[in-house]
């Protein structure tokens, strides 16, 4: 039988500690709802309509013109009335304004008359796409008009053609966001393709063939039929159900990362829940002892406090849901133009349900230990002033184990990836164990410090006050800060390495798709003879007879062997290359064709000298033996090749294009670009600095979103500080009063409290600093291969901000303590 009035009384008298508990619950729910809701919004508004996302039922994709066999198969289907087809070409090119004084790298899309099969292309004018796009016209993104200073009706040079800009595109069904592109979109009618004269063999063009099937046609069977006609490893046949678009992949990765952050925050707020509840129940210890002394049983006590916790937990959950909703609605406010313009934020009931279930689970799990401890309170506690130590019994370890398993389960469920999931768990456990051990060590040292200053000594003593959650505070704060600051540092380093300090000697202008017969004229126009790199597009088929598992490869989050590779031929090492295995690029003792591979390839799949790699060079199978393994001595923006063949080999005869990279004065880039593409419209000139800046901007936007969600984990730390101060309220008042009686000024007491918080803030910040510096150094060196800058100014700022935050929070939680009048306290204490 539950006693309603008892529960109500406990609820209303629980005060601040209960508020902190509720807020921790709120925070965990809020995090889950916000992150899941955000993911849902992206999935629903950007990625849900898979057919529109791929603009077809079956998608044929290749980097070369489609093989006759495949085209025949498509033609057969069409003849039978089993499908309609549509061609799309997608590639980068440089366009010019009419007078030719301005050029711009754009993302060209040449589409057949029925485009799009699914979804709708939205135009600024509101007209329908088909009524606008006609031969001789181009529909462009606003950014193009802005950057070239053009208006609708103006003319635009694209390749060899001159087109009239007729409208502005605001949304494409198969490209719901445009920030993954390095240049604005230009859409052109397929009838103009020939006139452009941009498709050379070996150019980097995406060839697509979209099929739309009538209802009655079987999707899978049709796809299978086409697959059997396609050139394996070169032409991909996928259905809208299986295809993974680049955008989807990007968002999958991004949302995956957000999910990691959410779990991390959930864990920290769990620690907060435990911390606040322990303190809350500690305050009730005497009451509970009295209840037990007058005959209340253990189950009575546990049952009633369980009810109290349940009610508080529900309040927190409700609050979390409400705030979660609010946050979802106000995300555009926070992120402003960070989010893709056409992202519609939706309320996701699934996210709400998940939040609810998770919230209850988290509360139940983290509340278990403090509640269990209630059973151990003895009636005799009435007579003792000191409360019993929290003994760690079997149930404690059991609960810890269950929490761990829950956490692992959560990770695997949210991340849906065993390997990454277990890395993540290991990483987080490592992080927490590391901060835990470091905290323990530092506190051990601090305790033994001989300190002369009374205020400082007293402050450090305060860290070890019974009931103080010093350790919990430091661990959560430093773990949260370490994560936030690592993200910042890595981003800064990427920025510094690639954007701000673009190496002075690195080439800044890349020319792609020069045709072999244009090389001499090209050098003339350029006014210099740069090093030319022949580029032959190909795919990997097998290594030592073992086929490359394309499905498996594409699942990798990093580089993979399923993508197309650029091959080249030469007999020398580049300046930034060194031999890793072997003395020279090629060997005397190998029969047949040889190939030198970069160590990056070996990292993806172990290979040794003599291993046989099979390539598919535009339909022609070629096998070569590994002759050496190269490495790059420094990461730079210079061109590099994974596979190098001997100069004097059959590769010379393969269809190829020429690539070169030059260094041009900053203000001459435009002029050089113009000169080249006016004369060679088929050549794409990429201003690398600008491309990198665009990329950095994307990275920056998303890092901001991530940081926004990471802030939640810091709030968890702040809540634990508040809980800790509240838990030690009595001891703090006692100290403050005794100091005052013995003649300390108010300022002294304030100093002691401030110093105590300073110590907590400083220890947490420094710990976070060490971990994040080490972590981002490893990430920079290992993952990105870039020089590392520790960024002392930002580090100092982080430490300062943390210290100020902790002091601020700690002192504001202590205001009422500082105001306490000695007489009243003494009187209360004497009467005990």
């Amino acid at each position: 039988m539950l006693h309603k009035r008892f529960i109500l009384r406990q609820l209303t008298r629980s005060g601040n500690q209960a508020a902190v508990f509720v807020l921790c619950v709120t925070l965990s729910i809020l995090t889950i709802v916000a992150v899941n809701g955000f993911s849902e919004s992206i999935n629903r508004s950007l990625l849900r309509d898979a057919r529109a996302l791929h603009s077809g039922d079956i998608i044929l994709h290749a980097h070369y013109p489609f093989s006759p066999a495949l085209l025949d198969a498509v033609a057969d289907l069409e003849a039978e009335g089993d499908a309609r087809s549509l061609r799309i070409y997608d590639f980068y090119s440089v366009v010019r304004s009419p007078e030719g004084e301005k050029t711009l790298l754009v993302d060209l899309k040449v589409v057949g008359p029925e485009y799009p099969f699914y979804g709708r292309v939205e135009l600024a004018s509101g007209r329908t796409f088909r009524s606008v796009l006609a031969p001789g016209t181009a529909i462009v993104e606003q950014a193009l008009l802005d950057r070239l200073g053009l208006a609708l009706g103006d003319r635009l040079h694209v390749g060899e053609a001159v087109l009239t800009v007729t409208d502005v595109v605001t949304r494409e069904p198969d490209r719901p966001v445009n920030f993954l592109s390095f240049g604005p979109r230009v859409i052109i009618d397929i009838a103009d393709l020939e006139k452009l004269d941009l498709l050379q063999r070996g150019s980097r063009v995406g060839y697509y063939l979209m099929l739309k099937l009538p209802e009655r046609t079987n999707l899978e069977r049709t796809a299978e039929k086409l697959r059997s006609a396609a050139v394996a490893g070169q032409e991909r046949v996928e259905t809208y159900r299986t295809a993974r678009s680049r955008i989807k992949r990007f968002f999958d990765n991004f949302l995956f990362f957000l999910a990691l952050i959410a779990i991390f925050t959930l864990l920290l707020s769990g620690i907060g829940i435990r911390s606040a509840l322990t303190a809350l129940l500690k305050e009730k210890e005497r009451t509970i002892a009295v209840i037990k002394a007058v005959g209340g049983t253990g189950p009575f006590v546990v049952g009633h406090y369980l009810a109290v916790v349940a009610v508080l937990g529900l309040i927190g959950t409700a609050l979390g849901l409400i705030l979660g909703f609010g946050l979802q609605y106000s995300l555009p406010l926070f992120f402003g133009n960070l989010l893709p313009e056409n992202l519609h934020l939706v309320i996701s009931w699934r996210a709400v349900l998940e939040g609810l279930v998770l919230g209850i689970l988290v509360v139940a799990l983290f509340a278990f230990i403090p509640l269990h401890h209630l059973r151990e309170i003895k009636p005799s506690a009435v007579f003792r002033k000191e409360s019993a130590e929290n003994r760690r019994s079997a149930p404690f370890y059991l609960a810890a184990l269950i929490i761990f398993l829950f956490f692992v389960g959560m990770v695997l469920w949210q991340l849906k990836d065993m390997k990454i999931g277990s890395y993540f768990v290991l990483g987080i456990v490592g992080l927490i164990v590391l901060t835990g051990l470091a905290t323990q060590g530092i506190l051990f040292g601090v305790r033994r410090l001989p300190i002369r200053s009374l205020a400082l000594r007293q402050a450090l003593r305060g860290l070890f006050r019974p009931g103080n959650a010093t350790r919990a505070v430091i661990i959560t704060l430093s773990a949260a800060l370490a994560v936030v600051f690592s993200i910042y540092l890595v981003e800064e380093n990427l920025d510094a390495a690639f954007v701000r300090s673009y190496p002075a000697d690195a080439p800044n202008l890349f020319f792609i798709d020069i045709q072999p017969d244009q090389v001499d004229a090209f050098s003339d126009t350029l006014g210099m003879t740069p090093r030319y790199y022949p580029v032959i597009r190909s795919r990997l088929v097998s290594v030592n007879g073992e086929r490359i598992d394309r499905e498996q490869e594409r699942k990798r989050r990093g580089d993979n062997l399923a993508r197309p590779f650029n091959l080249t031929y030469r007999d020398y090492l580049l300046e930034d290359e060194a031999m890793r295995v072997g003395d020279s690029l090629f060997r005397e003792d190998l029969e047949g064709l040889q190939v030198s591979v970069l160590d990056t390839v070996v990292e993806m799949k172990p290979m040794a000298i003599g291993d046989r790699i099979r390539f598919n060079i535009q339909g022609v199978p070629v096998e070569a033996a590994v002759s050496s393994i190269r490495t790059r001595t420094k990461e730079s923006i210079k061109p590099f090749f994974y596979f190098v063949f001997p100069e004097d080999s059959m590769l010379r005869k393969a269809p190829q294009s020429i690539f070169t990279a030059v260094r041009v004065d900053r203000d001459e880039i435009g002029a050089v670009q113009n000169r080249i593409i006016t004369r060679f419209p088929n050549v794409t000139a990429v201003d690398v600095t600008q491309t990198i800046a665009a990329f950095a901007d994307i990275v920056h936007r998303f890092s901001l979103v991530i940081r926004f969600f990471t802030i939640f984990s810091i709030i968890a730390g702040v809540l634990i500080i508040i809980s800790s101060v509240l838990a030690t309220r009595f001891a703090r008042i006692q100290e403050a009063v005794y100091f005052k009686i013995l003649g300390a000024k108010g300022r002294f007491v304030l100093t002691v409290f401030a110093l105590e918080n300073l110590a907590i803030g400083l220890i947490s910040a420094l710990l976070a600093l060490v971990i994040s510096q080490a972590g981002s150094w490893i990430i920079s060196a290992r993952v990105f291969d870039i020089a590392y800058r520790p960024n002392p100014a930002a580090s100092l700022l982080m430490v300062l901000a943390t210290v100020l935050l902790v002091i601020g929070v700690g002192l504001s939680a202590s205001v009422s303590i500082l105001k306490q009048r000695p007489v009243i306290f003494l009187r209360e204490q004497t009467e005990e």
Partner: protein
Amino acid sequence: MHVLEARHLTKTYRIGEREISILEDISFGVPAGEFLVVEGASGSGKTTLLTLLSGLDRPTAGSVWIGETDITDLKEDELAPFRNETLGFVFQSFHLVPSLNALENVMLPAELRGDPRAPEKAEALMKRVGLADRRFNFPHQLSGGEKQRVALCRALVNEPEILFADEPTGNLDSENSDAILDLLLALRKEHGATLVMVTHSPDIAAAADRTVTLRDGRIVGERRHAA
């Protein structure tokens, strides 16, 4: 010359609408070196009087003079150092700082004052009260009698002019009480401090120079004892 003087002290509390008077127009003086006992029934206002005399609380009306200073005129932050240097306290329930060990508790007032000889002074006092070997114990590792001896040392470490004691033996058994009282009186003599003590014990009252009796917030009697 009076080292301590109460002039027309009045203290009232307001509880809701009602105003209750705890002390009414209390005036008396304490000459330097005197041992004064304040006695009276429970609730008569003894503790309240002591807190007013020692500047821990402010009277509703009237003033308290310590030497040449009207302490009711001092601001909180002026009062604190004044208390530190001239007054010492011993309470019924010890009030030791739990996070400091015995020695640190004793040193505390001297340290607050910035006395560089705080450790030596504290050590000497601890030795004097027979607690040299307990000096690193924390309060929860000390018995009641030991705690009170530490509190006594703490009250004396700054060699205060006036020592206030509010039922210092109220929480102790008779054996410990006697020991504490003997120590208190002996130390007071050694330091030449004025002592104002609240007690219910007739034995102690007998040892005092003078006794004032409170009833319902007024002085209703005063006895002088032959030296």
